[in-house]
Symmetry: C2
């Protein structure tokens, strides 16, 4: 399987996503400036992947300074974190990840200051803690995605028709290339494939930025899953032809009532699935479920640059100065969601109750 | 208003659609070779417009030969028709139009052979008949489109909300640029504007070939109708926000039971409209209603070149050799169609009865 991020022992190896979908090139990142550049240029993308990459970036940015005093070393950790945070100033998960490794470093120092370790040992310990924390974040991402994959694969297996083949439809990319390896929406497909299921996926191209044709189609193909690219407007047709057993998508944010915010076009797919009586599944790590949000109505819809639509693909495709509406997300109301697939298990309506129970259960 | 085709008195003036959506350039076509090239290169496009253009092309191709004998002249008419038919070998309306003008020429000759006109008068009469027939076809197209516009505008007027503004959504281009002037789906909008309605249109960009953003947005803007371009996947969002009072689209073919074949993506819009309880209107000249076709199931769905999806806009947007499904049309079943707007009036379910009645009524 494609590895979005891996640790070679001396470098963070990234699959260069700027080369997709035509070339598969890995780059070994060995210092913080290279990592800043990789995040900035979208060599690595997707909230979970960016977070893990940045965590390794902090380690890479301080590992040459093990001879510094603990104070100077910690100051350098803070500086590298602040520097990496400027690579994508709107990526919330980036700040969360940097904050997490920074705290890990300061905790070691705090523990040392009340103990008796010699200063050089403290710096070594902080360095170890930084690499450990990054590795831990990578493993956590894999564990969560893998668990979603296991739960989802069981759901999918139940859809097997007379031919044994299971045709799914997905929108955008909630795949391995947005995480370390398995992805969220695509994890059940990869795990299903491991278990020997005969799977085929329709990938909506996902205008305006074409994450479906550029990224989802690429990773499914590279990982050996048969995939067919369609335009977003063709989903209804393949559904009407009885070719879709289930829809499976990711999510940016789930509200406490089960409303799902995701890439623009998800609402449409959910409505079409309901019309054709096809299950609509949402892969939702518990980290994406926001219990402080009563409903999807509270999720503001970001509007993006009109040029993504009118000049998104190399040439101008609409008249000059035409009015454009380019919402980045939409919200599928809970009544269209057949089930949420979390790492803790599959959750169904009534979501206000089942989601509360999910978080009440420590597991 | 933009004139897709007009007759200057000595030339057929075409709006050069290859320059859209960035430039408005008219070209005067003065002979049959220029017309062949204009049809071939899509300077003029859309079934009704191509038919009218080709009819003028025949006149332009023979007008220098008024001194020929009637036999030689008629042979030249046939040759020019055969030549123009090769400009777009799949355009059925092109053959229909050429056949119609050819028959008009031969009828004059047939009438003359039983009469006593001198030969030079016969050629003059045929020449007049050719120009008359082309002009008649232009006027017929305008009359049909205008009548659809009148009937549709009345429907639309009834949707006026509290603010007085009426927001519509359309898919693909069934506009003036596919006909002589008014179009079919856009005719009610142009007539409504003349009547002082406050109209605004969401234009689906219509992947893969972007007729919505390239052509519909252009012509609405040029004709002074406020228009907002959205991706096809955003229709559900604007509908969910209560921003769409009605959907209005064109059609390639209507079956006797009211099933509607139209550009890919129309089925999806029809399902979304039903979900949000929004009227879904189809502008359908009676020439598009095929009473020999019991239902839409008998309409074969043409599949087009995968490159339209994967390389359609200047650069490659999907992996090499990925599987692609690219149907050109879909069929919206009659139960999703609120009404058909024909030049003879508005027709509603049960279509098997109302369509039969429409054709039974000679009017």
């Amino acid at each position: 399987m494609l590895q979005t991020i891996s640790w070679t022992g001396s470098a963070a190896r990234l699959l260069d996503q700027t080369k997709l979908p035509t070339e598969t090139v890995y780059v070994d990142i060995t210092d913080e400036r290279q990592m800043w550049d990789a995040i900035k240029r979208l060599v690595v993308r997707g909230a979970p992947a960016i977070g893990v990459a940045a965590a390794f970036g902090v380690y890479l940015g301080v590992r040459q300074h093990a001879d510094d005093s603990a104070d100077r070393f910690l100051k350098r950790v803070d500086d590298v974190c602040a520097y990496l945070a400027t690579s994508r100033p709107t990526a919330v998960n980036l700040f969360w990840a940097l904050d997490r490794v920074r705290r890990a470093a300061h905790e070691i120092d705090g523990a040392a200051s009340v103990g008796s370790s010699p200063p050089c040992h403290v710096v070594r310990d902080i360095l170890d803690a930084l690499l450990n924390e990054a590795t831990l974040m990578l493993e956590e991402d894999n564990r969560v995605c893998r668990a979603i994959g296991e739960h989802g694969a069981k759901l999918i297996e139940g859809l097997k028709g007379a031919t044994g083949r299971i045709d799914l439809l997905t929108h955008c990319n909630a795949g391995g290339l947005a995480t370390v390896q398995y992805g969220t929406a695509l994890a059940p497909i990869y795990v299903g494939k491991e278990k020997g299921l005969d799977l085929h996926v329709f990938a909506d191209e996902t205008r305006p930025l074409l994450q479906g044709s550029r990224i989802t189609a690429y990773e499914l193909k590279e990982n050996g899953v048969p995939v067919t690219v369609i335009c977003d407007s063709m989903a209804a047709t393949v559904m009407s032809q009885g070719k879709v057993a289930a829809v499976i998508v990711g999510t940016d944010r789930v509200a406490a009532n089960g409303d799902v915010a995701n890439k623009i076009g998800t609402l449409q797919v959910a409505i079409l699935a309901k019309h054709f009586n096809i299950p609509f599944y949402v892969a939702a790590p518990t980290s994406s479920i926001d219990m402080s949000l009563p409903s999807g109505k509270q999720i503001p819809i970001e509007e993006r640059d009109p040029d993504e639509i009118t000049r998104g693909l190399g040439r101008q495709t609409a008249p000059d100065d035409v009015e454009v509406y380019n919402p980045a997300f939409d919200v599928a109301p809970a009544e269209l969601v057949t089930a949420l697939i979390t790492e803790k298990g599959v959750v169904r309506a009534p979501y206000d109750q089942t989601l509360r129970a999910l978080f009440a259960n420590p597991r």
